[in-house]
C-alpha cells in the first residue's frame, strides 16, 4: 500500500475542488428531484454519476493515493456546511462512493489515469453506492429485473457523468494552464512539446 503523501498545495486544491463540487452536488439535488418526479427512484440512478465527479476530477489532476476518497469526503463535508437536505448521511455516502473510485485507482497502482480507468472508477462508485442504497432505502423489496435495470442505469450514469465528465473538466482546466504544477498539467506540457 502506497503512503498518501499530500503536500499543502495538494490539500488546498483538493479543498477548493471539494467546496466547488459540494456546491455542484447540492445543485444536483434539484436535477435529481426533476428526474425523480418523472421516473421515480430510477431517476436517481440516471443522475447519480454527478455525485462522483469530484473524486474522478481530483484524482485525474493530482494523481496520488487517497485523493479520490479524500475529494469525495471533502465534497460531502462542504455539502453539510452549505446545508444539504441529505444531511450527515452524505458523509457515509461520500465515503462509500470514494471507496468505489479509489479501489479502481488502487488496482491500477495509482499509475494509470486513462479514459477507460476513469470510466471504470465512475462505475466502481456506482457499484458501491448502489450497495449502500440497497441497504439504506430498502431496495431489497424490488424484483431482480428492476434492480438489474437500476444498477445498469447507474453504471452508465457513473461512466458518463463521472468518468467522462470528470476527464472533460480536468482537460479543460489543464488547457487554461492552471495545473502546470500538477501531474496532469506536466503531462500536457510534455505532450505539447513532443513532435
Amino acid at each position: 500500500m502506497k503512503k498518501a503523501n499530500w503536500s499543502l498545495k495538494d490539500i488546498m486544491v483538493l479543498c477548493v475542488l471539494g467546496v466547488a463540487f459540494g456546491a455542484l452536488y447540492i445543485g444536483g439535488v434539484s436535477l435529481w428531484a426533476v428526474a425523480n418526479a418523472v421516473f421515480g427512484p430510477v431517476g436517481l440512478d440516471m443522475v447519480y454519476g454527478i455525485w462522483f465527479t469530484a473524486s474522478i476530477t481530483a484524482a485525474y489532476i493530482i494523481r496520488k493515493p487517497g485523493i479520490a476518497f479524500g475529494a469525495e469526503m471533502l465534497a460531502a463535508l462542504s455539502e453539510i456546511l452549505l446545508g444539504t437536505p441529505a444531511g450527515v448521511s452524505v458523509i457515509l455516502g461520500g465515503a462509500i462512493q470514494g471507496i468505489g473510485c479509489e479501489a479502481i485507482f488502487a488496482a491500477s497502482g495509482w499509475k494509470k489515469y486513462s479514459t477507460p480507468v476513469l470510466i471504470l472508477a465512475g462505475m466502481g462508485a456506482s457499484v458501491t453506492s448502489f450497495a449502500y442504497n440497497y441497504i439504506a432505502y430498502g431496495y431489497s423489496k424490488f424484483a431482480l429485473m428492476m434492480l438489474a435495470g437500476m444498477l445498469s442505469i447507474r453504471l452508465i450514469s457513473g461512466a458518463i457523468l463521472a468518468g467522462v465528465l470528470g476527464k472533460v473538466i480536468g482537460d479543460g482546466l489543464a488547457a487554461t494552464g492552471a495545473l502546470s504544477s500538477f501531474p496532469l498539467g506536466r503531462e500536457r506540457a510534455v505532450k505539447s512539446v513532443q513532435p
Binding site: I11, V16, L44, L74, A86, V88, G138, K141, G177
Partner: protein, 260 residues
C-alpha cells in the same frame, strides 16, 4: 424553546448518526412514524424550521414520495392485495406499508439533517472535527480557506461573463447558449480558484504552516458534560421508541437477505 447551538457539533453529528443507523435497521411504518414525529417535535422546539430549510427539504420530499409509490407498485411482498390501479401500475397493501416505512425513513433522515445544519456554525464544526475527530489541521484550515473563496466567486463569474461578451459579441441560439454556458463559465471559474488556492498554500507554508503540525488554537471546542448528556438522551429516546414498538408487536427489524 430549547437551544442546541452551543452544544459540541460532534455531539450533534453523533446523535444524527445514531438516528441514521436506527432508521436503516427499522422496516415497519409505526416505529418510523414515531421516530419521524419525535424528530419533527425536536425541530419545532429548537426553532430549526425556517423558509430556507423547508425549501431545501422539497427534493427529499419528492424522493420520499417516489419511494412510496414505487414500493406500493413494485415491492416484492408475499400475498399482496391490490388496493388501487393507475394505468399499468397495481398498488398493493403490503407494498404500501413497505413504502410508508421507507418514505418516513427518508424524511426522518432529512429533517434530522436540517436540524443539524441550522443549529451548527461551520467554523465550530471544523474546529470540533480537529479536536474530537482528529481531523488534520491542514485539511481543516484548507476547508475554511476554500469557504472564504465562495463570496468572491460571484464577482469572478461576472468578470468571466463580461470577458466572454467582449471577445464574442456574436449572439448564439438559446439552446447552444445554455448547453455550453456552464462549461465556458465553470472552467475559468475553477481555474481562477485553483490558482488562488496554490497562492494561499505557498503563503501558508511561508508562515510556517505544516499539514500535520502540533499547534495551539485561538478557539477550541471542548467536549463537555452537557454534550455527553445530549448524546445519551438522543440514544435513550430512540431506544425507548424502539422498545415501545417491540412491546406493541409492531417492530420489524433489519431483514437479512431473503433472495429475489
Amino acid at each position: 424553546m430549547l437551544k442546541i447551538n452551543n452544544l459540541n457539533p460532534t455531539a450533534k453529528l453523533l446523535s444524527n448518526l445514531i438516528l441514521l443507523v436506527a432508521c436503516v435497521m427499522i422496516f415497519d411504518p409505526q416505529t418510523m412514524v414515531m421516530l419521524f414525529l419525535t424528530t419533527v417535535f425536536f425541530g419545532v422546539i429548537t426553532r430549526s424550521f425556517r423558509k430556507k430549510s423547508i425549501k431545501a427539504l422539497l427534493p427529499l420530499l419528492c424522493f420520499a414520495f417516489a419511494i412510496l409509490w414505487m414500493n406500493a407498485a413494485f415491492a416484492k411482498v408475499n400475498h399482496p392485495q391490490i388496493i388501487g390501479t393507475l394505468g399499468p401500475l397495481n398498488f398493493s397493501d403490503k407494498g404500501l406499508i413497505v413504502g410508508l416505512s421507507l418514505c418516513f425513513r427518508v424524511m426522518t433522515i432529512g429533517i434530522s439533517s436540517i436540524i443539524f445544519t441550522t443549529n451548527t456554525d461551520p467554523n465550530d464544526f471544523i474546529l470540533s472535527l480537529i479536536k474530537q475527530c482528529r481531523l488534520s489541521p491542514g485539511i481543516a484550515y484548507g476547508m475554511l480557506t476554500a469557504f472564504r473563496f465562495l463570496p468572491s466567486i460571484e464577482a469572478d463569474l461576472t468578470l468571466i461573463i463580461a470577458a466572454h461578451q467582449i471577445r464574442n459579441a456574436k449572439k448564439q441560439k438559446w439552446y447552444a447558449k445554455n448547453s455550453s454556458a456552464w462549461y465556458r463559465n465553470a472552467i475559468p471559474l475553477l481555474a481562477v480558484n485553483l490558482r488562488r488556492a496554490e497562492r494561499v498554500a505557498i503563503a501558508m507554508e511561508a508562515r510556517g504552516f505544516e499539514n500535520n503540525m502540533v499547534r495551539t488554537y485561538h478557539k477550541t471546542i471542548d467536549w463537555q458534560k452537557k454534550d455527553t448528556i445530549f448524546v445519551a438522551c438522543a440514544a435513550l429516546i430512540i431506544i425507548l421508541i424502539i422498545s415501545y414498538s417491540a412491546y406493541q408487536g409492531w417492530l420489524v427489524g433489519f431483514k437479512t437477505w431473503q433472495g429475489f
